[in-house]
């Protein structure tokens, strides 16, 4: 179980990995995530499922090398290796129905999880406009994949090396100014990006959903480490989400809770650099 069948470096520090997890592949719906562990005493890492194949039992994730565990996963695991544990699919699937015109926004790593969402939205007859944003052209990935499941795909780069120069919100503002009648916005990416999208659409009164990736341990509602105030009430991202109304998220609290282990993270990276030779 959990044997890695493919591994690609999509951009600097962005890794696509596919492994065998038949039960997860069979049950997966757009918007859900999984939790994986490298070794027996590793951390449990929550990652959004980027793709799945019921026939082959394959599940694909795309992850960013941000901390110790993702670094270890990227550097120590290759095709043929087995992951110690993978559990899922977790969380409530993204609400899919025929909304009309939906703008789906993916920022950086968030481009991967919007793929199954665009696919599902298109299948039920929505017009899907995708906005995908990267820092620069070198970091761009999955452009063709997103194009295949969207009626229109807009690319933005912070430095203007590809597509529109600016952020995803630059492109969203442009669409709005051009008079596009948008029925729904779905945004996945760094918290700051999701927050900015939500703040932008709030006065426009366009329902805007975001997918949160808070710190969690079990992913089944047991630990409450992922808790966050949504619309004045504490919710557990793992079971009540990960999708929430972006206009109701307490973004300041989200920012604080994401940084809870910053000190410890630098400690383990330093510790292991000397001991096991991670780069």
């Amino acid at each position: 179980m959990f044997e890695i069948v493919s591994k690609n470096v999509l951009a600097e520090n962005v890794i696509e990995m596919t492994f065998i997890a038949p039960r997860i592949a069979k049950a997966h719906k757009a918007g859900q995530f999984l939790i994986l562990m490298n070794y027996e005493h590793s951390e449990r890492i929550p990652l959004t499922i980027a793709d799945s194949n019921k026939e082959t039992g394959e599940v694909t994730i795309v992850f960013l090398v941000v901390g110790f565990s993702t670094k270890e996963l990227a550097e120590k695991f290759n095709v043929g290796d087995k992951l110690y544990s993978v559990v899922g699919p977790l969380g409530t699937p993204t609400h899919i129905e025929k909304f009309g015109k939906v703008v789906v926004i993916g920022g950086g790593l968030g481009v991967a999880p919007i793929y199954p969402i665009c696919k599902s939205l298109k299948e039920v007859g929505n017009e899907v406009i995708s906005i995908i944003g990267f820092r620069s052209k070198d970091l761009m990935f999955w452009k063709e994949r997103i194009e295949n499941v969207s009626s229109k795909t807009i690319v933005t780069t912070d430095d203007g090396s590809f597509g529109i120069k600016g952020f995803v919100t630059t492109a969203l503002q442009k669409l709005y100014d051009e008079g596009e009648k948008i029925d729904r916005v779905i945004a996945i990416g760094p918290p700051i990006m999701m927050k900015n999208v939500a703040k932008m659409t709030e006065p426009w009164k366009i329902p805007t959903w975001v997918s949160l990736n808070t710190i969690m341990v079990d992913g089944t509602g047991m630990c409450g480490g992922c808790r966050l105030e949504i619309g004045g009430e504490t919710k557990f991202v793992c079971v009540d989400g990960p999708d929430f109304d972006g206009h109701k998220v307490n973004w300041e609290e989200m920012e604080i809770r994401m940084k809870v282990y910053k000190t410890e993270e630098s400690l383990i990276l330093k510790d292991h650099q000397c001991k096991i030779g991670l780069k």
Binding site: A27, S42, R44, S85, V217, D218, C223, T234, Y261, L267
Partner: protein, 499 residues
């Protein structure tokens, strides 16, 4: 090979000779790590009896013909028989005899509240108050002995008759493991599903290493596996595999999913950094071994001044962990008094020996954060006790204008757990109360959904390991009856029309 036990040298009963009990001897204390030493490590606090000590203690038992301890034991272990076997040097046989009644003796010997159960009923209390036979310690001694001899390779007891029936057991905690073991012994095919990456439920994530070593838990699970139980970890029923699929594939389903959903205070500031639910704190430390960080990869915030809200088993486990993580000060904040504390006497005593402070009649009203969003203080108010409430305990009432501040850098909320809603919300027709506690017929353990049984904390809310084991034991008999009943008659719980 069995090692030779020289029972005469140990002071026990030799083969063919009658036992001359020595009830008047004082009860043998169990050796413990010194409090000053043990707060620097996570190793087990109580060290267990040596063979000499076990035989000494076993020789105190009168082996009563009508033993009250057996009646008091929730699963009715034949206590005089196993204690008698220890007195005769048959340590492994003693544990094997216990296994007829309880599949997890090494666990129960450690965490069962014997002082309120078998040992409270022991006849020696009548003549020598406070000196009952140390049944729990003897249970632990024999179970540890057997597990060390088996070395993870239990000899499967002969399973007499293999039936064609298949049972799915959901959850691998005390109740799920017990039900699975019993059903396997009855000859049924059992598949045990566990959501986490390790089997054992609360015994792995909840109870700390220094009270229940994880190696012991895994050895007990190996025994259950040796009975033919197939254990599938990383599988969340209702997510990884749909409940409908389970319902189709198995002849009966047992829900032993425990009480894993944390209750929170719902007061301002509770989402600040440095505030944990007991579940998260314990899971990080126990299951993920965060106390070994950075050798292991899961981090935990290390406290200087820790505050635990609540005073149950869990709260005491948490406060003791805080001290082991290096806290200079760690305290329990409880809204009632010592008298009402649900924690076990021994745990309270051990905690105080280790330096934990208990602050009675105090209740948090809000948490105060620093400029980085981490908790820096708790505002509390004094309480006083009023009339008894529904739990029979006197109800705490706030004292006006009594608020004050306790400085802290780590708070753990340990005010109880309720069952997870995952299964109830995914299984149509399953009746629950208080949102997630599953209703069952108390005789048959049948739920409102045909062929679905439930037991343990999932039907009571958070309780003890031994009560979960009792429910699972009784449920396993009910499941066996149901499977063998040609008509598969169903006796659901009576649910009143009113919610």
């Amino acid at each position: 090979m069995q090692e030779k036990i020289d029972i005469a040298k140990l002071g026990g009963v030799e083969e063919g000779k009658p036992k001359k009990p020595r009830p008047k001897l004082p009860r043998k204390e169990i050796a413990c790590q010194d409090p000053k030493e043990r707060i620097k490590n996570f190793n087990e606090v109580a060290l267990g009896y040596t063979p000499e000590e076990a035989v000494y203690e076993a020789m105190r038992c009168l082996e009563c013909p009508r033993p009250r301890c057996v009646v008091a034991c929730p699963v009715h272990i034949d206590i005089p028989t196993f204690v008698g076997l220890i007195a005769r040097g048959k340590f492994a046989e003693a544990a094997k005899d216990i296994r007829k009644y309880n599949s997890l003796p090494a666990v129960c010997g450690r965490v069962c509240p014997q002082e309120n159960l078998c040992e409270a009923a022991c006849i020696l209390n009548d003549t020598n108050p406070g000196n009952p036979v140390a049944i729990g310690r003897l249970e632990r001694f024999s179970a540890d002995y057997l597990l060390s001899k088996e070395n993870g390779n239990s000899v499967t007891p002969q399973i007499i008759h293999k039936t064609p029936y298949k049972v799915a057991v959901i959850g691998s905690g005390p109740s799920g493991l017990t039900c699975a073991a019993k059903l396997a012994k009855m000859g049924h095919t059992v598949h045990l599903f566990e959501a986490l990456h390790k089997a054992g439920g609360v015994m792995m994530y909840g109870i700390p290493e220094f009270r229940l070593p994880k190696e012991i838990v895994q050895k007990e699970i190996n025994y259950v596996k040796s009975l033919g139980v197939q254990v599938e970890t990383n599988c969340i029923v209702g997510k990884t595999v749909p409940i409908d699929e389970i319902m189709e594939e198995y002849d009966a389903v047992y829900i032993g999913s425990g009480a894993g959903f944390p209750n929170m205070m719902k007061i301002p500031g509770e989402n600040l950094g440095g505030i944990y639910s007991a579940n998260e704190f314990l899971t990080r430390v126990n299951l993920m071994r965060a106390y070994e960080f950075p050798k292991t990869a899961t981090p935990i915030r290390k406290p200087k001044r820790g505050v635990v809200v609540g005073a149950g088993f869990t709260a005491f486990d948490v406060v003791r962990i805080m001290l082991r993580l290096g806290a200079e000060h760690a305290e329990i904040v409880y809204r009632r008094t010592r008298k009402e504390m649900p924690g076990r006497g021994e745990e309270i005593e051990h905690s105080e020996e280790e330096g934990a402070v208990i602050r009675e009649l105090t209740n948090p009203v809000r948490f105060i954060g620093d400029e980085n969003g981490f908790v820096k203080a708790v505002e509390v108010q004094k309480m006083e006790l009023g009339e008894p409430d529904s739990s029979g305990r006197r109800k705490p009432i706030p004292v006006p204008n009594s608020n004050f501040i306790i400085e802290t850098d780590l708070v753990v909320i340990a005010i109880g757990q309720t069952p997870n809603v995952l299964i109830p919300s995914n299984l149509k027709g399953l009746s629950t109360r208080w949102g997630s506690v599953i209703n069952v017929n108390r005789e048959t353990y049948m739920t409102t959904v045909p062929k679905v049984f439930a037991g343990g904390d999932a039907i009571t809310g958070a309780a003890t390991v031994i009560l979960a084991i009792r429910a699972a034991t009784e449920a396993s008999s009910a499941i066996d009856n149901f499977l063998r009943d040609p008509q598969r008659k169903w006796y659901p719980p009576e649910i009143s029309e009113k919610r």
